[in-house]
Symmetry: C2
Subunit: 343 residues, 2 copies
């Protein structure tokens, strides 16, 4: 297996990316490797600095960089020599099995759509991200912002794709799927959520019904389904509150000598608590529904986060998530036309 | 001024409600009073238990109770002897100036709409709630769940009504208004948020543009505008994370002897932190856009929360929020027709 890694994406590129590649290379199964794509000299310098002398990491040159300021679709169309375009092209051609990047989410989505294309039968590919649960098992939430406006059939697709990812990559058995809504009763919510409830209930996944966002921190389900507008708002709010809690604790626990002494005694617990707010260890965010494996690592990823994302790509490829999604949506289409025929 | 108080609503009724009335009565301006509505015997017993001997609290009998299990619209239509229907009727008839309840939000909204009616020109009355900011000034967020599906004009209305409430009741000068979106740029979001951005920008309020939910904890604006689906999800997530953080801290800080000693030294800081997660002191949630003053107190309100909500009703009435909203939406309608005429 060969994982293509964007050497130029993210706030800490290229050094953290290259270091992440070295970390991952050390624990990847035999016969597999990593291809770094980006400015060759820069990447080779970084490898030398890290004193990497193995043969599992290769470098492919790409002179251009797509930034967060670029218009994603334009950038994919015009910056043919960018690390993102070249990297995704390598997945398409079969030179690579998966593409991992901490670069522009929009460009990765556009690249997935324009270069790899949608899996036949999928209407809206989706960005799925890990939803961190303090003191509990993380869930996955989709859509995380790729599709601000969604129809009920899109929400069903998200449920199916998320369920397959959680089973095949995150190793959850018979993953539970919940629909974000403003009440738990079936009749609650918008026209779209009401229809989505029905479709999800009829589909071949472990749908547990509506969930209120109050419950998200209780590991209430493995797959959290919602439209990209709400999903994005929930993820960003969780990040915002996490930062605020840490900031406020720091302020209060250093307010005076007595508090500082207390904080010293609680040091281990405070560090553990802080770590729970940091979910980089769970690996990246998959783009589900495109014909190939693309994983986005957080823009502020450090080497450990990059390494975890690379390692998540392995079961993603090995357990044939893309093919499984293709089969599931095809089955769903058959079921839909059977249902339509019954009317 | 006479505040009508629902004696039967909320998890802690009637005792916490009656105690809240006593607390508020002690700090209300001269010549004002509170009328408790509910089962007369129960309320009088509660007043006796509290040894209340003042003349500011009166009791009006209402034999029925609307619960959270009742269908709101049906309950308002059929339970004519309920404390909510009788209380809102008293505001309509002028016997009372405001109605305060910790009962069913749905029934209060339905009661406001069916009994008081909408302010002419208002399309969608809205439930606005305090959005708690840890270590900072609270904002108000609307819609909090009354309108799951909104058009752009509704979001503009929310901005106008929220702005007036924050100025007249919460005493913010020239309150800032932000629109929840998945990015700060004008072109981001759904068709509805893009159109709402334009309308809010043209309107006569202090609109600061799109805000991401990550910023909500940074007191980024006084009035947070969003549709009822997103608003409800954001509020409930904030509550859920708050509870989870407190639970996790408790678990960690009692894990062993050393941690317990640390927690003892940090006791004051921990209590202060816990208090910041509790926003009952800011008073209730107004229903804006109906022809009368209705304030909802949290279902789990204690006496202090009830008292704070009652006291919030005073500037709500005195500063003529209802009339000001009426004037603002009428002005907006004039501006709209002028704009339409220009085309």
């Amino acid at each position: 297996m060969n994982i293509i890694l964007d050497g130029m994406g993210g706030d800490n590129a290229p050094d953290a990316i290259v270091e992440g590649a070295c970390l991952a290379a050390a624990s990847m199964p035999e016969g597999s490797g990593i291809t770094l794509v980006g400015k060759e000299k820069v990447l080779r310098d970084s490898l030398s600095k890290l004193k990497y002398h193995g043969d599992r990491i290769s470098v492919v040159n790409a002179d251009e960089i797509i930034t967060n300021d670029d218009s994603p679709v334009k950038a994919i169309r015009r910056k043919k020599e960018s690390s993102i375009v070249k990297g995704i092209e390598m997945v398409k051609s079969g030179e690579g099995d998966a593409f991992v990047s901490a670069g522009s989410t929009g460009a990765l989505l556009a690249g997935g759509l324009l270069i790899l294309g949608k899996i036949p039968g999928v209407d809206r590919p989706s960005l799925a991200t890990i939803y961190p649960v303090i003191g509990g098992e993380p869930s996955i939430i989709l859509d995380a912002g790729a599709n601000a406006e969604c129809r009920a059939v899109n929400l069903r697709e998200f449920g199916i794709m998320g369920s397959i990812y959680m089973e095949k990559v995150m190793k959850r058995k018979d993953p539970t799927v919940g629909l974000v809504n403003i009440g738990t009763e079936e009749h609650k919510g918008t026209t779209t959520t009401k229809e989505a409830y029905k479709l999800l209930k009829e589909s071949n996944i472990n749908f547990i019904g509506n969930i209120e966002s109050r419950e998200l921190q209780n590991s209430v389900c493995d797959v959290i389904v919602t439209d990209g507008f709400t999903g994005n708002a929930l993820i960003k709010l969780t990040e915002g509150i996490g930062m605020m809690v840490l900031r406020e604790m720091k302020k209060r626990f250093t307010a005076d000598i007595k508090s500082k002494m207390g904080a010293v005694l609680l040091k281990d617990q405070l560090l553990a608590l802080k770590k729970e707010f940091n979910y980089s260890e769970y690996g990246g965010a998959p783009i589900l529904g495109v014909k190939g494996v693309v994983l986005k690592s957080h823009g502020s990823s450090d080497a450990m986060a990059i390494s975890q994302t690379i390692l998540k790509a392995i079961p993603f490829v090995e357990n044939r998530v893309v093919e499984t999604i293709g089969k599931a949506v095809a089955d769903m289409a058959v079921q839909d036309s059977e249902n339509a025929g019954e009317i």
